[in-house]
């Protein structure tokens, strides 16, 4: 069994290596080890993944397989044990605003208004813009996520869904090269989740920022992604399979659900997760 997976994986990797000018994010032989009293615990090993410019990749896998570890390593919040991560060919060193993150919890500063929360990043990334320009940028993205009436509302007074909208606006407003999303809708009810997926995909269609998103939701993974990356269960997790989603963009939920290939993709993912 494992031999088959190994072979399959090398096939996939051979197939999905892209010319360097197309690659935005490159993970090479990535390894993460947590030392424990009983010896090293290897979370990720020999993980190779290339993500092209303007590509939306979703990552799916069982809980505890190391998806979040991988994403926080890309964000620079978690040190790399071995291998390297590069953005546009440059190795990353620590976190930075070229990689925007939308966290699982909205992580807004509750004492600030939604506008101030977005401005926190905008002020940092555009230090030479005038105050009015920076406000315009922040307001533009808040409008995009449907919060034009809540600029001056305290983050603590917003619902969970609204807070995550501010989180989306904050991440897009700093115009990162790569957008990292760590199960951003995992804590929301399914109706709100659908709304936020629509908002995310709408704003993404416009900005086309290379995105890597972790999710547990098979339908979400298919709806949003150009490619779905399936990770094997840890320890020593690596990429198990990659599924290309060939729906054309812009997509609507209806067109995706009615597409002939939809259930084929869905079955592929569920078979992988249940193997």
């Amino acid at each position: 069994m494992s031999v088959i997976i190994e072979n399959k994986q090398s096939d996939i990797l051979k197939k999905q290596i892209f010319p360097s000018h197309e690659v935005m994010l490159d993970l090479k032989n990535l390894k993460k080890v947590y030392p424990t009293p009983k010896g090293d615990y290897v979370v990720l090993e020999d993980l190779n993944l290339q993500i092209r410019k303007e590509e939306f990749v979703t990552i799916i896998g069982h809980s505890g397989c190391g998806k979040t570890t991988m994403l926080s390593m890309i964000a620079g919040l978690n040190p790399i044990s071995d291998g390297h991560i590069s953005v546009l060919g440059k190795h990353i060193k620590g976190p930075g605003p070229d990689r925007g993150v939308i966290f699982q919890a909205p992580s807004l500063m509750p004492w600030m208004t939604s506008l101030q929360n977005v401005l926190l990043g905008v002020n940092k990334v555009f230090p030479h813009a005038t105050k009015a320009q920076r406000h315009d940028i922040a307001k533009y993205y808040l409008q995009k996520v449907g919060l034009e009436d809540a600029f001056d509302k305290k983050a603590s007074d917003l619902s969970q869904g609204m807070q995550q909208r501010v989180g989306i606006a904050r991440a897009f407003a700093i115009k990162p090269k790569v957008l990292l999303l760590d199960e951003p809708f995992g804590m929301l009810d399914s109706l709100t989740r659908g709304e936020l997926q629509d908002i995310l995909i709408e704003i993404w269609n416009k900005e086309k920022i290379t995105a890597v998103m972790i999710t547990h939701d098979v339908d979400e993974a298919i709806f949003l992604a150009d490619r779905v990356v399936m990770m094997t269960s840890g320890p020593k997790a690596k990429i198990g399979d990659i599924l290309n989603i060939d729906f054309e963009r812009p997509r609507t939920r209806k067109s995706v659900l009615e597409h002939d290939d939809y259930y084929k993709y869905r079955k592929h993912l569920i078979d992988f997760l249940e193997h």
């Binding site: 964000a75 919040l77 605003p97």
Partner: protein, 368 residues
């Protein structure tokens, strides 16, 4: 209507919510099911207050009787039956020269309260008259380059309250300006934390009396050339040092335990250290800092009495001590008046801090 809503909000905000329920009771705005709530919030405290005063009255009476019996018994054995009878009738007549000295009754305390206020008004009038009388002379003295003559009479009870408040605020500000910045540094740097930890652990439990003596040793030497009275300086510094620990520990803890998500946001946005502290770390630790400041203020007020007493610095502490030494007929009652004043002011200070805390912090959890 609109005004009454805002009033209700304000009273709720400062934690005196029962006032607005009381108002609703009189304006007839109350539903039947609220009645139970009103009873619990207004009638029950009032009833327990009355019960307290009643018990106090009975207790004071029985203590008075024990003391009186003992005195008469003693007169009987020492001086014979005539002296005992004379004393008995003297006590019964209410003559102040032979009253037993014990816990005063509520009515005696109320009388002393009124006499203290009368005393205050007399002193105030006296002071005003003095200032008027010396105004011309003082102008002349100032013109000649001499110091003005100031009123040096005895301070009244009210003057002493204000003097105590002044000392406590000076001490509180000192604690604030030492403990908050130090707490931030300790909270941010594990190195500084281990450098200061022994210091905090050892000095935190030191008693106010010992702090006073320590501050006295240092300030006395520092102000050796100064002819001014250093008792105020010594007492406010001692109050500050006694009370700053709660703020120091809470600030350090608040800063060290800022939600990891906020820190991650700050890292991803690459905020500089200055921005990180003022935009993320400080606002998020404000609730804990204010909890510390609230404790600091109440500790400051509590230790103030002991420290004023030791430092001979005018104020409520010295008032209590002087009345105790004085041993006059109404001294005990005056001490109880001071006790209530101290308690009520402590309660008000706590409420003020709670109000400020609710006002500045994002975390609207109800305080107690």
């Amino acid at each position: 209507m609109k005004q009454s809503i805002t009033l209700g909000k304000v009273t709720n905000f400062v934690g005196l919510g029962f006032l607005s329920t009381l108002k609703d009771l009189f304006t007839g705005k109350l539903e039947r099911e609220d009645l139970k709530n009103v009873l619990r919030k207004t009638v029950v405290p009032l009833a327990s207050m009355l019960l307290f005063i009643g018990l106090w009255h009975l207790g004071a009476k029985s203590l008075y009787n024990i003391e009186a019996e003992f005195k008469i018994e003693k007169a009987l054995t020492d001086q014979g039956p005539e002296a005992a009878d004379a004393l008995r009738s003297c006590i019964a007549s209410g003559d102040s020269s032979c009253q037993p000295n014990t816990l005063p009754s509520p009515s005696q305390v109320w009388d002393s309260y009124k006499s203290l206020l009368r005393d205050h008004n007399i002193i105030k009038a006296d002071k005003a008259a003095f200032i008027e009388k010396t105004a011309v002379l003082n102008e002349k003295r100032l013109a000649e380059g001499k110091d003005a003559i100031t009123y040096t009479g005895r301070p009244s009870f009210v003057d002493q309250i204000f003097r105590s408040l002044k000392t406590v605020f000076a001490g509180f500000l000192l604690a604030l300006f030492i403990a908050v910045p130090l707490g931030i540094f300790i909270g941010l740097s594990p190195t500084l934390k281990s450098a200061f930890n022994w210091f905090i652990q050892i000095f935190k439990p030191v008693s106010p009396v010992v702090w006073y003596l320590l501050v006295f040793m240092i300030v006395k030497t520092l102000l050796i050339d100064s002819s001014e009275d250093s008792s105020f300086t010594i007492s406010f510094i001692s109050v500050g040092f006694c009370s700053m620990w709660a703020t120091l520990v809470n600030t350090a803890m608040g800063v060290a335990t800022v939600d990891k998500d906020y820190i991650n946001v700050a890292k991803v946005l690459k905020l500089g250290p200055f921005q990180k502290i003022f935009k993320v770390v400080l606002p998020s630790s404000l609730p804990l800092i204010f909890t510390g400041l609230k404790i600091t203020l109440s500790v400051a007020w509590m230790v103030l009495i002991a420290i004023e007493l030791l430092a001979q610095s005018p104020g409520l502490g010295l008032f209590v001590w002087e009345e105790f030494q004085n041993g006059a007929n109404d001294s005990n009652a005056k001490i109880i008046v001071a006790m209530f004043v101290i308690g009520i002011i402590g309660f008000l200070l706590d409420r003020i801090m709670l109000t400020i805390q609710n006002w500045v912090s994002f975390d609207k959890t109800e305080g107690i």
